[in-house]
Amino acid sequence: MSDPELSELLRRYFSAELDEAGVALLLERCRRDPAAARALAELTRVERALAWRHAGRGGETFVNEVLMRLGPERGKASGFVRAVLDRVRPASPRRWIAVAAAAVLLAVLGAAALWRIGEGPRPLDARVVEARGEADLLRRGGRLEARDGLDLVEGDALRTGADGLCEVRYGEGTRVRLFAGTEARFARDREGQRVELKTGSLRCDAAPQAPGRRFAVATPHAEAAVVGTLFEISASRTETRLHTLQGAVRFAAGGRSVEVRDGALSTADARGLRSWEPVCDLDFPAMRSLPAEMEAVFCPTSALHTPSRRVVPAPDRVVLEPRGLGFVNRPGDEKNHGLVVARLREEVGDDAVVEATIAGGAPWTLGLSVAGDSFEGYRAIFVATAENSGITVDSIWPVEVAVLSRSDQSISYDRDRTLRLEKSGRRIRVWVDGDLRIDAEVSYPLSEKRRKTAALSNFGGPPTVRSLRVWKRPAP
């Protein structure tokens, strides 16, 4: 190649050594110089042809697999038996022998197909190290129960059911844990290992990658690329959410990318990328008293919906127990019953995400608030009792309850639940265990003078709150 600069760019591109600036430079060259674009296309073609040439399956294997795949859909097994019979053309008394021969042949082909499900041509150096509940391995049209010790090959997908869990470990140390209701495909591209998350949630603990390599998790909306970090990512039909637990993740969508650092959250959907920075991440069972960034306040029922509503400090109404944070309330006792609120002292702004995990095993109710505390902001009231179940988004500012949205879909209290309330502009969304329950636009006016904080609240049926995480919009 007579152009040394272009040759060097192409060498680095095909060695996965080009950084973003280099990629931009090569793209610019290709745009203004047709010869550069042609060289890129020709070398890409060579690269792919080389990969295919070294990975291609045998011709008869291909044909047999096509025939086997045709089998179950149109009684094709019997069609294939007929094809074998046509070949054999036995005399009538011996036809049963031919039928038996065809059946044996089918059994052998079936066994061969199952054997192929068990071992693939291009290993990924990744192995299932834990599989619980409903967990399947999908390989080239076949399905196997996922089990410990199963080695993955390129193109494999794992799917977990409502009670399933599956963990994969790569040779270089990276761990990928698929939570319930998740489907992800495992692949490899020029830059390194790649997981394509179709739906659900996974946690990725990525080991440091070799120079020029990265570990990527792609979803229908975005891609997260890392070189050594811990993060959780979930994909639904409309949105991808990334939460970095440790390290930093390059999160990209719609031609834009952001670095999501420790504790931060980022979402991607058709409207683009949104970033949230962490305010707090509180693990209540590890605490003996309410953390300094929170305060407990109370207003009795008798004054709650009157113009004389008065909110008073109530440190003894929020308690830390071995299982988590609890509320002290007295339903039926007019003086001692009311709205107990544990709120952040800090203002977090109009837009925020509040996420709490509630211990299962007993009925509970809990309010999460954004854009103000539970007296002044927007609340999502979650109810999980034997009599009632569901979510209401409302506000009790200035006096009466103003219901803004509802979901009657039930919430059972048989196990721990993760509740999330997010306000972004006028849009309020509420999830239970990652399942979107409310998606509403709200225009109900709040007090101009309110403190724009976030809070937990309880009016009865006290919950045990295991954890609280709050994110806010980064400063512009």
């Binding site: 040759s7 060695s15 674009a37 296309a41 073609r45 060579v46 792919r48 295919w52 070294h54 969508a253």
Partner: protein, 187 residues
């Protein structure tokens, strides 16, 4: 690959003859695979999609006119499935890398607008034979065993820059050889 009995094979397959359909798969497997392999980064995905082409073709066989050539019809199905695959598995456009891949794909589509992918793979086989044994070994490690460059360096006890430069030179040599052979074989 055209075949003088192809229309008859198609008719037989339309009557439910699986043996005839298997023969059609054998005839066109390599062309369909080549068409997809040069357009997809994952060779396994290319094989899976090629199988899907024949599954779809089998399902639509009744509507096919046996008087028409079978290969271009399969090619059309392959292109449609490839478009669906890209929609499904490619993430939303992310940075310049995806644009760069789009430039490469566009160039490949233009070069093979009228086919010829199978000839390219055939030409490459001949070109690989002309490589020195060390370079063939390098390609075996990189593509046959799918080793990252770092591991190839360790196996060959060579520096990273030396291996990437070597790979680059081999790719360039293969490209030039393939172009030459394809030009020689074109009418």
């Amino acid at each position: 690959m055209p075949d003088e009995n192809e229309p008859e094979l198609v008719r037989e397959a339309q009557r439910g003859g699986l043996e005839a359909f298997a023969r059609l798969v054998r005839l066109h497997r390599r062309a369909v695979l080549a068409c997809l392999a040069v357009r997809m980064d994952s060779p396994n995905d290319a094989e899976d999609l090629a199988q899907e082409v024949f599954i779809v073709a089998h399902g639509k066989l009744a509507a096919f006119d046996p008087g028409r050539p079978f290969g271009p019809w399969l090619r059309g199905i392959a292109h449609n499935l490839l478009l669906n695959y890209r929609r499904k598995y490619r993430p939303a456009a992310v940075g310049h890398l995806v644009e760069l891949q789009a430039v490469a794909d566009q160039g490949i589509d233009q070069a093979h607008a009228a086919g010829g992918e199978e000839g390219l793979l055939g030409a490459m086989e001949g070109c690989l034979e002309k490589l020195d044994p060390e370079s063939r070994d390098l390609l075996r490690l990189r593509y046959g065993e799918s080793l990252p460059v770092g591991e190839v360096c360790a196996r060959l006890q060579k520096k990273h820059s030396a291996v990437t430069m070597w790979l680059h030179r081999v790719r360039l040599a293969l490209r030039d050889c393939i172009e030459r052979r394809m030009a020689e074989s074109s009418p």
